[in-house]
């Protein structure tokens, strides 16, 4: 008999529905697991024990009254700490927010709670979601559960590590340039970035508003589909949320990919991608051929310029979004200021970490008089080219397959001192944010005990096709069933 914390969300929900286990037992099992392993992994910024037990009791009472239970009833969920939780501190892993307790819930927080999800905690991240290793957290670094000396990826490293180390079967992250898929790959879990506009961002602390999107982490494609269906809905509180229907993603997981047209854009397997990662992706493509899919090579020539475009657009938007942290209405204020401008400047210098200040400076510079055309406008034109490359692919292909990351999890500190090295970790994921479409990372192998991720990219709003392709591969492998020893 497996422990409760080993079960998937789908299994837990079914066991609760059949009355084999109470929501309180499920919550206690996961809180116990957190107590046992999070000292080493450090995925959580805040563990919400009281909230978890109160929610669990609510659904146990509902079941006792004979009520029909919602789709996540009793299933523990962790939220990245940039999603607002009313009355529960939301730090964005930044000293600038400190112990800020939001006066409202993010839309995803409400949706998860209404669907019966039991919030077990808020997870660590790179400060303001800027980074690819969770080492830029202003609070503490998180470890990769597969090797505690290595990074879990980022920026949603806490959510990925929490799911991989069985502290929660489900978590939410946010993805601006790869911040769900890259840590998903490095921690060996499923990480899904939906199409821009598919999930409401009301109550998500903004980083780069034309790129940010919330999505699920899980240990199976079926579990990711379950959570995506709960959070994917139009929201009058977010004007960028798209007025589209939410399909039944779970029902679409047929395992059938016969005739599916898979394109393999050759530029993604170029320089920097290790032989082991390349081998794992090629083996996955062979598997797809065996399953009856049609696999052929294609080209997205502007991918080599995507990184520069991204690292001008995202900081430019960030410099504007982060102007609100001024020490007036909430968060950190430096004491002893001479006047109000002095207060803004010193509060921001002491409150923000190095990486955040770098990006604010880069973005402010790219937008400043005299440089706007050369940098920001140019970056937006390149964004058009990157997007058009993908649109041309959709004329011939249903999905595209690439590595998620060029290499497996790197050692802590390894990329901290080179301002470009860390950015290259996102080279395969950030073009998808520029184009606004959807993509998932799923486990496709191991190198020396460290997980490798396969990225599957779909047309805008065709999350269902991506999930079907992902699940068809997943059910022929056992990568996703392997667990780190903790």
């Amino acid at each position: 008999m497996p422990e409760l914390w080993e079960l998937s969300a789908t299994e837990l929900r079914a066991a609760v529905g059949r009355g084999e286990v109470s929501c309180r037992e499920v919550a206690l099992a996961h809180l116990g697991r957190i107590e046992l392993v999070d000292e080493r992994v450090r995925a959580f910024v805040t563990v919400t024990e009281e909230e978890a037990l109160a929610q669990a009791d609510r659904w146990d009472a509902a079941r006792a009254r004979g009520e029909e239970l919602p789709p996540l009833a009793g299933v523990p969920v962790a939220l990245k700490d940039n999603m607002c939780t009313r009355g529960i501190r939301t730090t964005c892993a930044s000293k600038v927010l400190g112990d800020w307790r939001p006066p409202y819930d993010a839309t995803v927080t409400s949706l998860v709670r209404e669907a019966g999800g039991v919030l077990v905690g808020k997870t660590n991240m790179d400060e303001f979601a800027m980074g690819s290793s969770t080492e830029n957290s202003g609070l503490f670094p998180t470890s990769n559960p597969w090797d505690l000396e290595r990074v879990p990826g980022g920026s949603s490293g806490g959510s990925a590590a929490a799911v991989a180390s069985r502290m929660a079967p489900l978590a939410l992250g946010s993805d601006t340039g790869g911040s769900i898929r890259q840590p998903g790959a490095l921690c060996g879990v499923v990480g899904f970035k939906p199409t821009y506009g598919r999930v409401s961002r009301y109550g998500l602390v903004a980083y780069a508003s034309s790129l940010d999107q919330i999505g699920p982490f899980a240990r199976s494609v079926a579990d990711a589909a379950l959570l995506l269906r709960v959070i994917a809905r139009p929201d009058p509180l977010d004007n960028t949320s798209a007025p589209v229907e939410t399909p039944d993603y779970s029902a679409g997981l047929t395992g059938d990919v016969r005739g599916l047209r898979i394109g393999v854009p050759k530029e993604y397997c170029a320089e920097g991608v290790t032989g082991e990662v390349r081998g794992a992706v090629e083996a996955a493509l062979d598997r797809y051929r065996e399953l009856g899919a049609e696999v052929s090579e294609t080209s997205t020539p502007h991918v080599e310029h995507a990184l520069a475009s991204y690292y001008l657009i995202a900081p430019a938007e960030a410099s504007s979004n982060l102007a609100r942290y001024d020490g007036v209405r909430y968060g950190f204020r430096a004491p002893g200021a001479r006047d109000v401008v002095d207060m803004f400047q010193v509060s921001r210098d002491l409150g923000f970490g190095d990486e955040v200040k770098h990006r604010i400076m880069l973005g402010t510079y790219a937008l400043s008089a005299g440089y706007y055309d050369a940098y920001y406008l140019k970056a937006m034109q390149v964004r058009t080219l990157v997007k058009q490359d993908l649109e041309r692919c959709w004329e011939r292909f249903d999905v595209l397959v690439t590595p998620t990351t060029p290499e497996v999890a790197f050692r802590k500190g390894e990329k901290l001192n080179d301002p470009m090295a860390m950015k290259l970790a996102d080279v395969c994921t950030l073009p998808i944010n520029l184009a606004g479409t959807c993509a998932v990372s799923i486990p496709c192998g191991f190198q020396n005990g460290l997980p490798i991720g396969l990225q599957i990219i779909g047309r805008p709003f065709e999350e269902g096709t991506v999930l079907r392709a992902a699940q068809a591969y997943e059910q022929t492998t056992d990568w996703h069933r392997r667990a780190p020893e903790l």
Binding site: R329, D349, M361, K387
Partner: protein, 97 residues
């Protein structure tokens, strides 16, 4: 493109309302130049006639009913302020008397 100078870094820091320390200014100048050098490749790409993309997914303006609805409770918001008095946020003096 020309190199970013220390004076420009100081100017940009002022625009961004960041009081950088001397050490930070020097490191920032060095690091930003490394990054901008890397982005030089963009300048070699011909983008004449390419329209810029600000949002990747086409969207239309969203309208709603012009109806009143409750706003967040003032006390709850002021409770999170670094300094508040009565119904106000308190900041250092702005105007000399």
């Amino acid at each position: 493109m020309p190199k970013l100078t220390l004076a420009e870094v100081e100017h940009v820091a002022l625009l961004a309302r960041l009081r950088l320390t001397e050490d930070e200014k020097h490191r920032m100048t060095e690091d930003l130049n490394v990054i901008l050098d890397h982005f030089e490749t963009l300048q070699q790409l011909n983008t004449d006639g390419i329209s810029p993309t600000a949002h990747a997914i086409p969207m239309e303006n969203v309208l709603r009913e012009d109806a009143t609805r409750p706003s967040l409770p003032r006390e709850e918001l002021l409770r999170e302020a670094p300094e508040a008095r009565d119904e106000f946020f308190v900041v250092p003096r702005i105007v000399d008397t």
